[in-house]
């Protein structure tokens, strides 16, 4: 088997997993897969990149295919183990088409118990002779999930061969960003070819930044408000260029956030939306250390809205004296003005 190694689901459908019957065929198929962009936007967000690695693995005679996953379950406020006899398909599709998914909740304080894993095994209709091996795999998956601070760990497909052996043919793990500090080795596993360079730089500075494909930059001081700001721009007929939560403090991070927006060649206008409680005197927007806008992007209009603690100081940002600064009282008004400005209209 030749398998594309990319951070995305749906590889098989996209032609990224192929069966070769000879070494020559393997070479030919690998050559076809290398260089293909098979990222599925739904599972990988906005990454698009050529495949640059393939895994060559022995093909096996599959008797049965299963899905096995451990997931952080918000509704149950715990860890839920899921299994399905429809292995090899994305679990979201299984859930849509044939919701034959068996779920058990791990004890939140004691961890996954043997009986919980057995309930999963028998729920999937496994034979008595299969159950012990399966339980060991479930417990191993749970141990990996908890040990690495996962929010998702999947084996899909988990297969049983003709001669009764169990094999994990593919797996996927999503780790909890908030727990990375206690897993120092994990950072080395990052694959820069599979991530957006701007997002990586932002993350290193502790900023939440997501690149989008519009032309209006957003500089906002919270996650929820940033999403609402993007929505308002869309409702006003524009398209946001990014999601950015600059948080409530740290001027240096805010400066970086602004630079990330200014260096995006697609950005024609920027909406600042700052509403807060945590702003202290020194954190005011537009503090002296704000960088000068890059000349190439000097035409960008700035729409500013700032409310909150120390509002008077914030409303007179020291650094922002650009003549193309437009102010607004409400988010909707700011969105309308920034969309107009991005189209070159004169706005005051």
């Amino acid at each position: 088997m030749i398998k594309a190694q990319v951070h995305s689901g749906g590889r098989g459908k996209a032609g990224g997993i192929r069966l070769a019957k000879s070494p020559e065929e393997a070479e030919r198929l690998a050559g076809q897969i290398l260089g293909m962009d098979i990222h599925d936007r739904r599972s990988s967000g906005w990454i698009s990149a050529a495949t640059h690695q393939v895994l060559v693995a022995l093909g096996v005679a599959i008797a049965r295919e299963y899905y096995l996953g451990a997931i952080l379950d918000r509704d149950q406020r715990g860890v839920t183990l899921m299994g399905s006899a429809e292995g090899g398909v994305e679990i979201e599709e299984v859930a849509r088409e044939a919701p034959e998914i068996i779920k058990v909740e791990a004890d939140p304080l004691l961890g996954l118990q043997d009986y919980e894993a057995r309930e999963l095994a028998f729920g999937l209709g496994l034979e008595a002779t299969q159950v012990n091996d399966f339980v060991a795999i479930v417990k191993g998956l749970y141990r990996a999930f908890v040990g690495e601070d996962g929010s998702l760990a999947e084996i899909n497909p988990l297969i049983q061969t003709d001669d009764g052996r169990w094999l994990a043919l593919d797996s996927k793990m999503v780790l909890d960003d908030s727990a990375l500090a206690r897993h120092p080795g994990v950072e080395n596993l990052r694959d820069p070819d599979e991530e957006n360079a701007t997002e990586m730089e932002a993350r290193a500075a502790g900023l939440a930044f997501v690149k989008l494909d519009g032309d209006i930059g957003c500089m906002v001081n919270s996650a929820g408000l940033s999403m609402a700001t993007m929505d308002a721009i869309k409702n006003a007929g524009g398209a946001p260029a990014n999601f950015l939560d600059v948080g409530g403090g740290a001027t240096a991070a805010q400066v970086l956030g602004l630079r990330l927006i200014l260096t995006d060649p697609h950005v024609k206008a920027i909406l600042f939306n700052i509403f807060g409680g945590i702003a202290r005197r020194r954190d005011r927007a537009g503090h002296r250390r704000r960088p000068r806008p890059d000349r190439r992007h000097g035409a960008a209009s700035w729409s500013l809205r700032l409310l909150g603690t120390n509002q008077e100081e914030g409303a007179h940002p020291a650094g922002i004296r650009a003549s193309n600064l437009i102010t607004a009282e409400t988010l909707d008004e700011a969105a309308e003005k920034v969309v107009a400005a991005s189209r070159g209209a004169a706005v005051s």
């Binding site: 509704d75 860890v79 929010s151 500090a181 929820g224 993007m230 409702n235 509403f275």
Partner: protein, 300 residues
């Protein structure tokens, strides 16, 4: 009345000697909140803005009888330990603003807090304010006005947006509750909706959700069955790309669940009036309250 915090609230601040703890203690005192004690291990005997500091929550509880603990301890200094200490000392209401707590730590902490009988709000939330009575949180106090609209939200600044708009409209708030943006939180929309429904001081409810999870759908089912007061809703993240984390760890959507469109549809079907932007919330609430008073139209 109002819910969760009021003029009888006695606040303990865990992490009071830290930067955020000290700053927000000052802000809460200035608002008129009764802050009776602080805790920072090893700094017992000191004072912060005139508030006595203790080494352990148990000592603070014995000496000053707080009924709310406000936790400002950062995640890297073990915020979940602070939550457990407050629960173990029997503080009935624990409000935790700390962000970036590893989520599997919260799984265990939540389970233990449930067993203790304490109520946890947060983590990663702005806190709770009953205007004119008590502010236990990091929200800017001055935008609030005493009144009869209850607000519950997963996002801090969007709560402020709604509060600001409601105040500008000449309506005020009974209580505003930020339940937090993390995947595992102590108090859900449904818990707060139940409190607002039972609170005679609350005449209408604003619910502000965002993409990710299914708390809003669960809230919609509860509203349909149990809420007779008018509800105005807003969901952030209509334009968010799927599969991406939008700042809040909770706001990640994958596959077909947790999208803004599904949440808006569920809440609309339950009778909530849905705003397209935070600015519309106040006008919709005014209209809903007027209808409810006249006894005409859809009360919700």
């Amino acid at each position: 009345m109002a819910i969760l915090v009021d003029s009888n609230t006695r606040v303990l601040v865990q992490g009071i000697t830290g930067r955020d703890g000290s700053f927000h203690t000052r802000q809460m005192l200035d608002y008129g909140t009764t802050v009776v004690a602080g805790v920072t291990p090893g700094k017992g005997g000191q004072e912060v803005h005139g508030v006595p500091v203790f080494n352990t929550v148990r000592q603070a509880v014995e000496a000053t009888v707080p009924n709310v603990s406000f936790i400002t301890v950062p995640a890297r200094l073990n915020a979940t330990d602070a939550i457990l200490e407050a629960a173990d000392a029997g503080v009935p209401l624990i409000i935790c603003i700390s962000e970036h707590i590893p989520v599997l730590d919260m799984v265990k902490t939540y389970a233990r807090v449930q067993d203790s009988g304490s109520r946890l709000i947060g983590p990663n939330c702005p806190g709770v304010i009953t205007p004119g009575q008590a502010k236990v949180g990091i929200m800017p106090g001055f935008i609030h006005q005493p009144g009869h609209v209850g607000i519950v939200s997963r996002s801090g600044t969007l709560t402020y947006e709604a509060v600001h708009a409601i105040s500008q409209q000449g309506l005020g708030q009974s209580t505003a509750v930020g339940i937090g943006g993390d995947p595992i939180i102590g108090t859900s929309f449904v818990d707060v909706l139940r409190l607002f429904q039972d609170d005679p001081d609350t005449h209408g409810i604003v619910l502000i959700g965002e993409i990710g999870g299914s708390d809003e759908e669960t809230a919609a089912a509860f509203i349909r069955e149990h809420v007779t007061k008018p509800v105005v809703g807003f969901i952030a993240g209509q334009t968010a790309p799927p599969g991406k984390r939008m700042g809040h760890a909770g706001a990640i959507i994958s596959g077909g669940t947790g999208t803004a469109a599904e949440k808006i549809a569920a809440l609309s079907a339950a009778g909530a009036r849905m705003a397209n932007s935070p600015a519309q919330i106040a006008a919709l609430m005014q209209e809903a309250l007027a209808n409810a008073e006249r006894g005409t139209g859809n009360a919700k």
